[in-house]
């Protein structure tokens, strides 16, 4: 089979825009924008020639690209100059993701990404096929993997919708969650602060009234900034998760989402390593949570196709736990907190940081005459409170078949790890933990969690408890393997 003919102009355009940006940027940096004005006929001619070459190359790419779905492999032959023939065994296929951006939706085409186990990157990319063909490939691969005939597959009932994000929940989710990528945009603002302060003549302020006005102004400015970032983050979330729907199809979870760019992807349940209930501080306040699942070798969200980080982005907490229990039948979560000396340890640790900040503020006062350095003393009660909340949201539980761990105040993750998925068990103790006879136990699985929360860890357990946790985990792994 060949790709959709419209993929020629689509690929030429997208590659052209990418390259064009780089070229314009390069030339502008290299010679200043004067070059464009002075030699414009050459620039136009050059662009025209490159565009022709680009379209020609993409036409050849289209001509030379073919794929074929056989009974147990996906065969792909590709390459204009260097040929590459691939046979991807279907049973190794983890995910078939379909992506459609705005342009592709207008043209009625879609990109199909095929991911296999063990690789972080996409194994095969079909750019682009028609939307109907993408749908067909997705369902055919699922059918062939299961080995059912076409008639049987057609007779199967429509997949049941496990979860759907309705409009009011979507709005609530947009405002209650926070996209960290938006905050990283703030970095752009910081270099502007220095010149801004200079322009306002802040350095010259010495008397009390002016300083008070300044503090109020800075406070207001910060509020506006936070509100702006929050709105931007909400808008991003809204666009990203619009129309989110999760369905169960046999052994796969299948989700789709997106307002402008439409994504559909699958989460293979037989590769499931752990499930986490995640709540940020706002969502927790209002009794909502999200569900993240982790599969071996491929975490939805870090693939090039850009899947969803979450199996369920936002739902009432009880519903999330119930849904998680249909995936992994664990008991109700009743966690044990670390001993209270762990709280003292965290309070002490944060107080040390506060002390450093106070010394730095005093130093700034002594050297540059920065006013109000003594305000930083207020960090000490904050440090103690921080220690308390850090401790309050830690916990662990041993269930018959599962280890449960919880950590995080701002973004709390409660992770359930089946013992039979354990790869190694690690007990670790920092110098400071040794002083307090505490230790942490890490339940390591074959998951590839790089974004949220890190490994499932029972933090700051009593030393002797940690050792027995570790040994019991290994015992239970052995039992679960023996009974299978």
């Amino acid at each position: 089979m060949k790709l959709h003919p419209l993929s020629v102009p689509y690929r030429a355009l997208t590659k052209g825009v990418q390259l064009g940006w780089a070229a314009i940027f390069g030339i502008a940096v290299g010679s200043g924008s004067g070059a464009f004005v002075e030699y414009w006929p050459f620039v136009v001619a050059g662009v025209a020639v490159l565009a022709l070459l680009g379209v020609g190359y993409q036409y050849l790419y289209y001509q030379r690209f073919s794929y074929e779905l056989t009974a147990d492999t996906l065969d792909i032959g590709s390459g204009v100059f260097a040929r590459r023939e691939r046979e991807i065994p279907l049973r190794r296929v983890q995910n078939v993701d379909v992506t459609r951006n705005v342009l592709q939706r207008a043209l009625g085409i879609a990109t199909v990404n095929v991911e296999t186990a063990g690789g972080g990157s996409t194994e095969a990319k079909l750019e682009c096929v028609s939307a109907a063909e993408a749908e067909r490939i997705q369902s055919e691969i699922r059918r062939l993997k299961k080995g059912t005939s076409a008639e049987e597959a057609a007779a199967e009932p429509e997949a049941d919708v496990l979860y759907e994000l309705d409009d009011s929940s979507l709005v609530a989710y947009s405002f209650l969650s926070f996209d960290p990528r938006v905050a990283s945009g703030l970095v752009v603002v910081f270099p502007l602060l220095g010149p801004l302060a200079a322009a306002l003549g802040i350095g010259g302020i010495r008397n009390g009234a002016a300083a008070a006005v300044l503090v109020v102004l800075v406070g207001l400015g910060l509020l506006v900034l936070v509100a702006g970032v929050w709105l931007a983050s909400a808008a991003f979330r809204f666009v990203k998760f619009y129309g989110f729907r999760l369905r169960r199809e046999g052994d796969d979870l299948r989700y789709e989402r997106g307002l402008l760019n439409r994504y559909t992807g699958t989460i293979p349940l037989d590769k499931l390593q752990s499930v986490s209930v995640t709540e940020n501080v706002l969502m927790r306040r209002f009794g909502y949570a999200g569900l993240a699942v982790e599969t071996a070798g491929y975490a939805p969200g870090d693939a090039p196709s850009g899947g969803s980080e979450a199996a369920v982005p936002f739902a009432p907490r009880d519903d999330v736990v119930a849904l998680a229990q249909t995936l992994e039948p664990f008991d109700s979560i009743e966690l044990e907190r670390p001993p209270s000396r762990a709280r003292r340890r965290f309070a002490g640790r944060y107080s040390i940081l506060a002390g450093v900040a106070v010394v730095a503020a005093y130093g700034a006062h002594a050297v540059w005459g920065v006013p109000f350095w003594w305000l930083s003393v207020a960090l000490f009660p904050v440090a103690v409170a921080g220690g308390h909340y850090r401790w309050k949201h830690l916990g662990h539980q041993e269930q018959a078949g599962y280890a449960v761990t919880r950590s995080g105040f701002w973004s709390r993750a409660t992770t359930v790890v089946p013992y039979y998925r354990l790869q190694t068990v690690v007990e670790s103790q920092t110098v400071f933990q040794r002083r307090w006879n505490l230790a942490s136990v890490v339940y390591d699985t074959a998951g590839s969690r790089r974004l949220a929360g890190g490994d499932a860890t029972a933090h700051d357990v009593d030393e002797t408890d940690a050792t027995s946790l570790r040994d019991r985990a290994i015992d239970r792994l052995r039992e679960s393997l023996g009974s299978e």
Binding site: G297, T424, S428, A446, G447, I474, E484
Partner: protein, 160 residues
């Protein structure tokens, strides 16, 4: 529990000396080539480079000795146990069922003093953590083959 060969201290110490030399060389280069009237580095002279070397080298050697003292490992009935770490003490348990493959590595320095490192790989995200340095080549060979056999004996269930 088994301990490492004492000669591993030499390997680690020499490694520390090399990095100390590297740091000291940078300090020395700044001291030699910086103009004497420069505000921030004018006071920096060659004796400082020597001082930096002595401090880093001493720290490195002390750490090498402490690391040797902490490191323990044991081949148990169906797991490997490893304890290591000077500042953060880490105890890892690897079940044989989860062992993907076992490597023996020998760096140039290890070859000079006649030692080997055995690395045990699992599918876990902390897989590369599990290495046992400072073994005699015979012991490394023996460990590798026994681990391989034990891994094969247990069910090939990688849970991936």
């Amino acid at each position: 529990m088994e301990r490492l060969h004492p000669r591993v201290r030499v390997v680690w110490s020499v490694g520390a000396l090399v990095s100390a030399l590297f740091v000291a060389a940078i300090v020395g280069a700044v001291a030699v080539f910086a103009p004497a009237d420069a505000a921030y580095v004018g006071w920096l002279t060659l004796p400082y480079a020597v001082g930096v070397f002595v401090v880093f080298a001493a720290l490195g050697v002390v750490f090498a000795v402490l690391r040797y003292r902490v490191f323990r490992f044991e081949v148990r009935e169906d797991t490997v146990f490893i304890q290591r770490g000077v500042l953060t003490r880490v105890r890892t348990v690897v079940p044989y069922v989860r062992v993907q493959h076992v490597d023996t590595q020998r760096g140039p320095l290890e070859r000079v003093v006649g030692l080997s490192t055995v690395v045990v790989y699992t599918a876990g995200s902390r897989g590369a953590d599990v290495s046992i340095p400072g073994l005699t080549p015979e012991r490394a060979e023996e460990l590798q083959s026994s681990l391989r056999e034990l891994a094969i004996e247990s069910e090939p269930e990688d849970a991936v």
